[in-house]
């Protein structure tokens, strides 16, 4: 029996990764914070903390609270802003042999266009990930990504202003995610990533106050995996463009579930807080899985979910 090293290279339309594992925005800072803890060169990609035109301070504390098998966050999109990212973080990020994805968000649709334009031609940024889960100031604070038409407009604005692959990151807090997915695909998105956090809250029964200063926050962690997995399954069967799956992935088995239902790559988020090396463990686990199952290329299992009915 001949031995082979499984091929983990991953093609997401115009974006090529050395393996299907990326780290999710908001959980990996600007990547450099993890340098002493793990070999970042082995990652498929790093999605940096969401960038806005102007720096944002974030919400008053408390910003986070642990919940059963998960956590709520209301960080408030705190970030250093696009200019500081370009001058202070990107030069060092360029030294890492991995793909860098700039996650961007705006308060108005114009800001998305301006951010895309600011990153046009910027070396070292390999793709944009568009966050449409933040509140649309022009629409009473409702998230851009709730309305398929608005999500499509945002997508179109970014696509028009960039030379880079465009990933649109969908919100799960919608009635039918397939509609949003189809709309952003139609507007020119190259790739779709999902899910962002689920809206939730927690209450302190002694003081009878919300545990988050912002009252509501986003739920992440293992608790959301079943919801995320189903949504990835739905979207992967709805669009032709590649899908990146995320939501509660803690280890390689979780990641494989997402690939099997149709994601071509995954993003690891909350797990990084608990186990900084989690994303690399997933990479190693995928190679082992392929070797154990005689799979030559990881792409073979994408969308390979078998029908139960066929068994009868």
């Amino acid at each position: 029996m001949s031995a082979w090293i499984p091929d983990l290279t991953t093609r997401l339309g115009p974006l090529e990764l050395k393996n299907p594992v990326m780290t999710a925005s908001g959980t990996f800072g600007y990547g450099l914070e993890y340098e002493s803890l793990m070999d970042l060169n082995r990652l498929g990609g790093i999605v940096v903390k969401g960038l806005s035109l102007k720096p944002m301070a974030g919400n008053p504390p408390p910003r986070i609270v642990e919940t059963a098998c998960g956590m709520l966050n209301a960080i408030g999109l705190a970030n250093i802003g696009i200019e500081a990212f370009l001058s202070d973080k990107l030069p060092e990020l360029r030294q890492i042999n991995t793909k860098v994805v700039a996650n961007i968000y705006g308060h108005h649709i114009d800001e998305y266009g301006e951010l895309a334009a600011a990153l046009k031609g910027v070396e070292g940024v390999h793709a944009l990930e568009v966050n449409v889960s933040c509140p649309n100031v022009d629409c009473g604070g409702m998230a851009f990504g709730i309305d398929p038409a608005i999500a499509a407009s945002v997508t179109e604005r970014v696509v028009r202003n960039t030379d880079k692959p465009v990933i649109v990151k969908l919100s799960p807090n919608v009635t039918d995610i397939k509609l949003v997915a189809k709309a952003v695909e139609g507007a020119g998105a190259d790739i779709i990533s999902l899910i962002n956090t689920l809206t939730g809250m927690a209450v302190d029964v002694e003081t009878r106050t919300p545990k988050l200063a912002n009252v509501v926050g986003g739920l992440s962690g293992p608790a959301i995996k079943p919801v995320a997995l189903h949504m990835v399954y739905q979207v992967a069967r709805t669009v032709k463009i590649p899908v990146i799956g995320m939501g509660g992935i803690m280890d390689v088995r979780d990641a494989l579930e997402f690939l099997i239902v149709g994601a071509r790559a995954v993003e690891i988020g909350t797990a990084n807080f608990v186990k900084p090396g989690a994303s690399l463990e997933v990479v190693e686990g995928m190679a082992r899985y392929c070797a154990d199952h005689g799979i030559k290329h990881i792409g073979e299992i994408v969308g390979s979910l078998r029908s139960v009915i066929g068994k009868q």
């Binding site: 803890l37 919400n59 986070i64 059963a68 966050n73 705190a78």
Partner: protein
């Protein structure tokens, strides 16, 4: 900062609902400074999910000592852990205390489990004269500092219910002390419940005494990426919020916006 498995050397109660744990880790023992903390995964798996932050209370040879109060799910699990078991620890983390100058008299003010990082400070200043004020709710919660006390250390005790020492808050003891010793150069260190820290900060600023406080916060990561541990910065700072895990947990009193603190 490294993530490592450490061996539990001892784990036992020292006061009501308060335990002490020794973790063997030569690297942590060599690197950790007073005021720094570690993030501990109390149990493998996803429930509870997040690590918990603990100040390092002392270093004994190759062991890192943690003092903890049982306040919830994570700390309850910790009380069941046995010597010989292994625990995942990330650290050392954060900015520790700046040690007092040669001519300064260190004054430590602690409330409850807030003694934890200050025992490490006292140990580092073992040979020097030092004033240590500590307050607890009641006598059975007093964490006796026998193994942390130097020969020139003066201890003052307060209990809310008067079952031992001064009847009242530890912060009752501070202003008279600051007043009496205003001719001396003092260096204040404080850690404890938020209202207590705030009172110490206010007294320190009133008497213009240099003062460092160790704050705590809910944390998801502990090493500067989740941005969950925000505390409002004073107007003198260059940013709106400080992060307890990166810019702290030790802060100069002048860098915090106390009006938004608690």
């Amino acid at each position: 900062m490294i993530d490592r498995y450490t061996e539990i050397v001892f784990n036992r109660p020292v006061a009501h609902d308060t335990w002490i744990m020794g973790l063997r880790s030569p690297e942590l023992a060599a690197e950790t400074r007073p005021g720094q903390f570690v993030m501990i995964k109390v149990r493998s798996g996803m429930d509870p999910l997040l690590r918990r932050p603990f100040s390092v209370s002392g270093i004994e040879e190759d062991r890192c000592v943690i003092l903890y109060r049982v306040v919830g799910k994570g700390t309850e699990i910790m009380t069941t852990l046995q010597a010989g078991e292994s625990l995942e620890v990330l650290g050392p983390l954060g900015k520790g205390f700046a040690m007092p100058g040669e001519h300064e008299l260190p004054v430590l003010v602690a409330g409850g489990i807030g003694v934890a990082p200050l025992f490490f400070v006292a140990r580092s200043l073992e040979k020097r004269p030092l004033e240590f004020m500590m307050g607890f709710r009641t006598a059975r919660e007093i964490i006796r500092p026998d193994s942390f006390k130097g020969p020139h250390h003066t201890l003052s005790l307060a209990t809310d219910d008067g079952t031992e020492g001064h009847p009242g808050f530890v912060t009752d003891l501070l202003p008279p002390f600051l007043e009496k010793h205003r001719h001396l150069s003092l260096s204040l260190f404080a850690c404890g419940p938020q209202p207590m820290i705030k009172k110490v900060a206010e007294a320190a600023m009133r008497y213009e005494t240099p003062c460092q406080v160790s704050l705590e916060s809910a944390m998801a990561c502990g090493f500067g990426v989740c941005q969950g541990c925000a505390v409002k910065a004073s107007s003198e700072a260059s940013r709106a919020y400080h992060y307890v895990c990166q810019n702290g947990p030790v802060f100069n009193v002048t860098s915090i916006d106390w009006s938004r603190f608690c």
